[in-house]
Symmetry: C2
Subunit: 303 residues, 2 copies
């Protein structure tokens, strides 16, 4: 069986974990009603994007895997007979936290996890404070996860800008790339800059589909979240998460795309056998110059 | 001086080398009139795309560097005080030929060459018969070429599908990527497939700009070229080269784009100092996981 329906749930970063988890669960039900056998949730789906500030109290949001959120999702996975890919603020040990995507199978079991490898740190996205990068050794790192609906190449947010990450997943046999993400506009940027940023974000991920001949799902959040540092009257400071979650096919063709300002559920059926036809037509993997790629392992090439 | 005007010349694959070189030269004059300090020519610009068949007689089209074409272009480079990037069917030795892009400086001197590293071979594009892949050793391979208008990351056609190639050029300090290319539609494909292919081609190259924070120029040919194998009455067999040469900025934003069916000259001014601003806003090079990229040097990851 190479045909499977995949869905994703885009919603707002609601203020309490219970409300946010409810939004995810309602979306899962909607996706299942549309036939989804796998549902992808947005990055850190159980609340607001807390990385707008560095605040030690936020470490209390981290949870173990398994933990309360995976327990709740495992119940739904069993009840609905689906696979769920959920982004969790993972507590691995005291003082050691990751931005992790966990995969729950149809029977409710946890069959794998991916710990975000590339960690951003920019004004409004202070992730290096919270998240230890995923381990780079051969047992971890960029490894796809085998499930009943295919081999999942799960990457998270900032990873989406790195062709290396997508390629490594494809080279390890991923049937599809999945990106939980949280990205938005700074309200002070002008419209032209906002348009360039959104277009760049979609374009670079569609290109991962093209270069590797596999579909891509990207699940982002929507809604304005205020900067916790904002002073009274500075209501403009914060991030306007731009939604636009999308699903693209193995030629990078845009299949469905969510609005920039509303909760949304997208579902699409894939035939992973079609990936191979696409790769036969444009056989990029055949001709890679691995003899000449050594300097990809350097920080910079001082020729 | 970080500001420079770059141009490109898109034309048909005219039937004699003299006619085709004239078309290139006329385009160069047009680009210079529009202010270009560098002009990029299309792949194998001195004639039809001869790789639609494997025919040993075509090796007579190869020429040395320097040779007649570079001599003619060197004169224009001197006269117009410009840099020219020209794609040549290079004869390196008897029985050893490359698909090469050569860089001619304002004084007419040849300051560097790039030999196509990834060589395709598909129905209608029998390039592995004609072109030895460029050497992968550290003295050759993916090395940008320093000129008076910036450090040029020149890649050729099939290379454009490989994020590895673009990244290696960026890591070696390229200010800009330049792709001479020859790609088109097969007339028997339906319009939806043609649209997907063209969109994929533009998207993947714009993504190289985005991932690396540098502009991209891509110079393709236009016009239908019949398959030399076509039998009488099979007038449909061949390649309809799709033009659509374009220039994109360092956020992948499309700046100018040529039509699919007409000769065209595009010129755009860049400020390479702006590349650094773009990279500071989205600092992808900072966070590459070179500790975990080792398997990029494998043909496939048999985990």
């Amino acid at each position: 069986m190479s045909k499977h329906s995949f869905g994703l749930v885009q919603h707002q970063g609601l203020s309490t974990p219970a409300e946010a988890l409810d939004a995810s669960i309602n979306g899962i039900h909607d996706a299942v009603a549309q036939g989804a056998e796998l549902v992808l949730l947005q990055e850190l789906h159980t609340g607001p994007y807390f990385c707008q500030q560095e605040n030690a109290e936020n470490f209390t949001l981290a949870e173990t895997i398994p933990g309360p959120t995976t327990d709740a999702l495992a119940k739904i996975a069993r009840d609905k007979n689906i696979v769920i890919v959920a982004s969790i603020f993972e507590k691995r040990a005291a003082g050691l936290y990751h931005n992790t995507a966990v995969v729950i199978e149809r029977d409710g079991s946890i069959v794998g996890r991916y710990r975000k490898m590339h960690i951003p740190d920019d004004p409004g996205y202070y992730e290096k404070y919270y998240f230890t990068p995923g381990d780079g050794d051969s047992a971890h790192g960029f490894r796809p996860i085998q499930t009943s609906v295919g081999k999942l190449g799960i990457l998270v947010c900032w990873d989406q800008w790195y062709p290396e990450a997508a390629r490594l997943m494809a080279l390890a046999g991923a049937d599809v790339l999945l990106y939980p993400t949280a990205i938005g506009w700074e309200p002070q940027d002008d419209q032209a800059e906002k348009d360039r940023q959104l277009d760049a974000w979609i374009t670079v991920q569609r290109a991962h589909a093209i270069a590797n001949g596999i579909p891509v799902l990207s699940c982002n959040r929507v809604g304005f979240e205020a900067d916790p540092h904002a002073t009274v009257g500075d209501s403009n400071a914060g991030v306007e998460f731009w939604g636009n979650s999308f699903i693209a096919g193995p030629q990078g063709e845009l299949l469905v795309r969510a609005p920039h300002d509303q909760a949304s559920v997208l579902v699409t059926e894939f035939d992973f056998a079609h990936n191979e036809k696409v790769r036969q037509a444009w056989p990029f993997l055949r001709d890679r110059r691995i003899d000449a790629y050594g300097d990809l392992l350097k920080r910079y090439r001082d020729l």
